[in-house]
Amino acid sequence: MLKSERLEYGAFKYDDRIEKAIKEIESNLKSSYNVSKRTIALLLLQEDSEIQEMVRMRESSFSQISEIVKKTKMLFTEPLYYVITVQRQKKVDEIVSKVVYTRRDSKNRLSNWLDKITVQPLTGIPILLLVLYFGLYKFVGQFGAGTLVDFIEGNIFDTYVNPWVDRMVTTYISSEPIQELLAKEYGIITLGLRYALAIILPIVGTFFLMFSIIEDSGYLPRLALLIDRVFKAIGLNGRAVIPMVLGFGCDTMATLVSRTLETRRERILATLLLSLAIPCSAQLGVVLAMLSGNTAALLIWALCVLLVFLLVGFLAARLLPGERPVFYMEVPPLRLPRLGNIIEKTLSRMQWYFLEIVPIFIIASVLIWIGRMTGIFDAIIRLAEPLMVALGLPPETAEAFLFGFFRRDYGAAGLYDMKGSLTWTQLTVASVTLTLFLPCIAQVSVMLKERGLMTTAAILAFIFPFAFLVGYVLNLILNVTGVVW
């Protein structure tokens, strides 16, 4: 082994001016740290705020150290962070040139080409639309939410399960309130479990499957690059695509992931947009299923939600103070997803989702039952009825909105249930309002945890009236322009 080539601890040297500063700072560091003084010195030179704070607490000579940093900064035209990074990178490039050999490969060219066309706007946007059309609309919307739901709901629940449960309950249980708790219109089995198994399960299952494939293929980071520019306009950067896209799976999880964003300002923006304008997979699926019979209605819904997303993002970005961060993200290669991994991931997500929702659906059924028995339910619905009427909706839709409090998808499923009795205008208005309407209980609890009480309260206080306002305006526009079915 060539001893001179080897990089012993500390043997890698920056240029003399930096090394001199390191030495001087090191000699001023008296307390002991878990990492080398050289590292502490380098971080101080780069003015890392957390390390500065730590050293300020521990060293009496902090002012001397600051002097050294100041003096060293004057020696360079570029910031020290940049200088140090560049010098280190030079060393790395030198090492890499000695250990990495590259062959020419045709496979490389294919993936380079794919790389390019997914990121460039001209080709990237059509590809995105194709992914959305086939992945979401065709597979989740039509197959999952249409074919599968029809089959499980129509052929299994409506034909066998519900009549059977109703019969069993009326035969063996004499108390009418208990009968209603378990079966009939709002029962745990006939409503709660039916929503969970017949409407939500197929939709979430197909969505998670599609999402896992897209995720494992490495397409998402490219999407992030593609829409970085749009996001910049609303005060976020491409990195925020991560929580936003995850939000289409589950807004609760996405709110949690918004922690990866750089500034507090971005985290608040992302939380707001997630709770307002990003429908979760179940809600999305139900809306797709509900409106897929009418392309115009679906387009109006999508356009409304998108407009709200951009408008609110844009305005909020103007209102919230703070600097805009720069975007940097590692882009992994496009990969052919492995079937085993996809299945494992889809199942683990479905399991997680199910353990999460079934109890809540059951609790919701019980609460609704209590509400009905005591008359509170009817009272709330009566209170909400004027709101529904203002939106041009039949009073019964208040039920769906009330369900929406418990979970986003529960509300959407409630709406889906009354699909037959509503006009397209009403369905469109209700879908838009319900999409924007309050986030589910789980999401609110994560918001409280991550963003704190004040921020959460402010966000909710904005969303509630805003959702209805948008619904109201949309209804007006649809009626005035005569786009009524």
């Binding site: 020419r104 922690r259 992994p332």
Partner: protein, 198 residues
């Protein structure tokens, strides 16, 4: 060679909600346990390696930034028992996001017996700066060059022995997703820890 068991039970969601809880749990574990910390930029396969070592399922995806929590699990290699810590991705010692800060604080405050710096073989030039920083910091670091299979597919060959020479730290090449190089990795880890103790 290895027998692993789960430390964390309960669903993914529960784990996600148990923010930072793991940090306090660690200190009370028995003294004989060695501590192994996985670090690296997002999406280099830290979580896959963590899963392979501990048998605990941390969400794995081809998407940077999926691990937002510190995950802890246990792994037995031969006679040695390790507490394995999976950290959120970190690009550099100069931290930008809260997640990176979590990782740096963990490196600066806990005294790991070994740090596995996991890097993507396809992107060595972007990842080695942090290796240099870890060496600079005097931390017990071993370099794991992961995704060797993918590097090969795009026509990249890496001379692991030479890299080890140049860096002066142990280097292992792996393809964790297809379970390649994991036995060698475990062997080198034990060797390293034993040598360090002596």
């Amino acid at each position: 060679m290895s027998c692993c068991h789960q430390e964390k039970k309960g669903g993914l969601f529960k784990n996600l909600l148990r923010r930072n809880r793991g940090d306090s749990e660690a200190s009370e574990k028995q003294v004989s346990k060695k501590k192994m910390v996985l670090v690296g930029t997002p999406n280099v396969g830290k979580s896959v390696i963590f899963n392979r070592l501990t048998g605990v399922y941390a969400t794995v995806s081809n998407y940077p930034g999926t691990t937002v929590e510190v995950f802890r699990g246990t792994c037995r290699i031969g006679e040695e028992v390790f507490e394995v810590v999976d950290t959120p991705g970190m690009y550099s010692f100069m931290t930008i996001t809260e997640e990176e800060r979590v990782t740096r604080r963990l490196l600066f405050s806990e005294k790991p017996d070994i740090i596995l710096h996991v890097v993507d073989a396809k992107n060595l030039e972007r990842m080695l700066p942090m290796t240099l920083q870890l060496i600079e910091a005097g931390l017990p670091v071993m370099l794991v060059v992961n995704m060797m299979d993918e590097a090969q597919q795009i026509g990249r060959e890496i001379d692991i022995a030479k890299l080890e020479q140049l860096l002066g730290i142990p280097v292992v090449g792996t393809a964790a997703a297809i379970n390649k190089g994991m036995d060698l990795l475990k062997k080198r880890v034990v060797q390293y820890v034993k040598k360090r103790a002596a």
